[in-house]
Amino acid sequence: MAAILEVDDLRLHYLTRLGKRVQAVDGVSFQLQPGEILGIAGESGCGKTTLVSGLMGLLMPPLHLTSGAVRIAGRDILRLPPAEVRRSVLGRDIAMIPQGALNSLNPTRKVRDLATDVILAHDEGADRRAIQDRLRERFTRIGLEADAVLNAYPVQLPAGMKQRVVIGISTLLNPRIVIADEPSSALDVSSQKAVIQLLFNLLDEGIVSSMVFITHELPLLRHVAGRIAVMYAGQIVEIGTTEQVIFDGRQPYTRALMGSMLSAEPGQKSRKPVAIEGAPPNLGEPISGCRFAVRCPVAQSDCAQREQVLREVAGRHVRCHHAR
């Protein structure tokens, strides 16, 4: 099957006010297949949200394209004029649920008006009545109580419901790909469950085709994603099926990440979660050799010099020349 999204050696950098260059995404490649949910995990600051900006074609200063391509159905969206990206890519090809989306709804307007705007923005001549029917039908179909929700102001909704409304509105134009950046991290477990259920509904109803799901919550990824990419310092260090990455990670950083999970299961309290000493490298400075070397518990003498590339190990791809 042809990939729906192709990311090809993408590099993105921030130019700071002091003229410094922060290479936040440094050579990321992957493909997203129709029907697939790809999970992305990684330490905070490793470049996940920056990658999302790239996938959406949202390159605005201080963020710049260094090199590489993002192709949706074969079209390189990073080389389209910004107006064209807004008109034909955002919301239709690809939609985003941003990190911190809970506060992204304008509090002075009803959900109904916010949703209507999204449709009008892409179809100025749309019939008002028809829009209202469409909204009611869509909200009901994805499992929201349409009338109550549409007539509410965002502040009147509990956090979990607000997040589901954000998702409902972001997907009104049936985007092929949804990118969710920590969509449920701020929610309690029950609301989190409802949000995930909603995302699954969107896929099962054929409203969206594929998803990229970013989260720090590894147990969540276990249930949501079919494949997982682990990022470290702007690069993918391991990418494979969920089973491979969660239960049998081969890259030392992946293993450390899995080892630091906390859970409320019997016997877990005596198990000490492992923190990795030290901080990730400064992305504002050139880095040579393995980026994880100074923190890696199994580093060897050749690691700090040797540039690491992704290679196949046990059926998945790993950036570590010692991994077996």
Partner: protein, 265 residues
């Protein structure tokens, strides 16, 4: 103050908002004690009253009725609020809102020292800021000249924790302090927090929906539902022998790598 006076004591503590049909009881008749040096986690669904209870403890909300004592004295009578906040500090839910976007990070960390009676010498301030940043896995030099909007969500949340490591309060109220922090850094932060707790004999109230975290760090858990504390107990009791159906529901909803959760049709 007798040696065994609890840090906090609440009797029939209630906080309601609005009137008549719109009345909303956010904290409903809560009775509990939190001992000195204890770590208690408040756990529950969103809207159950955790943040309001946290604000009561922080003296940012006033009780509608009932009593709330800090070290044996009603909170409202424990003097100047600034003096109170020198003892009792908070890390809030939304890191994006907590920092002023117009000042450099370093300047804002330095401003923390204003809460102290005596400002340490410049050199010592700088050292303490660097130490605090390292404790939360941030590189001090990397932040030089940076503004909050130049950080990722999780980095900003870690900055909030760095503030606490600088202030070293007697009591810490932390509202969802690590919701955007990855598992590795979270483990590191918790480790450091526990060390600090030992060193400073700190009392900590965690507000969280993350039962995994609560289970791991707490001496006791309070489970809240619709403003009421429906269950209090040790992490093992609460997670393995829950008595309230609301606790059971919360436990069922936690995603675990080992058992089924939400599945696709």
């Amino acid at each position: 103050m007798p040696a065994d006076t609890p840090c906090f004591e609440a009797r029939n503590l209630t906080r309601a908002f609005g009137h008549g049909a719109r009345r909303k009881v956010a904290v409903d008749d809560a009775t509990f004690t939190i001992a000195e040096r204890e770590i208690v986690s408040l756990v529950g669904q969103s809207g159950c009253g955790k943040s309001v209870l946290a604000k009561l403890l922080l003296r940012l909300e006033k009780p509608s009725s009932g009593e709330l004592l800090y070290q044996g004295r009603p909170i409202a009578e424990s003097g100047d609020p600034r003096a109170y906040w020198r003892h009792v500090q908070a890390v809030f839910q939304d890191p994006y809102a907590a920092f002023n976007q117009f000042f450099t990070i370093r300047a804002q960390l330095k401003a923390c020292f204003r809460l102290f009676d005596q400002r340490p010498p410049e050199r010592e301030m700088e050292d303490r800021i660097d130490q605090a940043l390292l404790a939360v896995n941030l590189r001090p030099r990397e932040l030089d000249g940076k503004y909050p909007f130049e950080l990722s969500g999780g980095q900003m949340q870690r900055l909030l924790l760095a503030r606490i490591f600088i202030l070293r309060p007697r009591v810490l109220i932390a509202d969802e302090p690590t919701s955007m922090v990855d598992a590795c850094s979270r483990a590191g932060i918790l480790e450091y927090l526990m060390k600090l707790k030992q060193e400073l004999s700190m009392t900590i109230v965690f507000v969280t929906h993350d039962i995994g975290l609560a289970y791991y760090v707490s001496d006791r858990l309070f489970i809240l539902h619709e403003g009421r504390i429906v269950e209090q107990g040790t992490p093992d009791d609460v997670t393995q022998r829950p008595t309230s159906p609301f606790t059971r529901q919360l436990l069922d909803d936690i995603p675990s790598v080992h058992r089924p959760w939400v599945t696709r049709a």
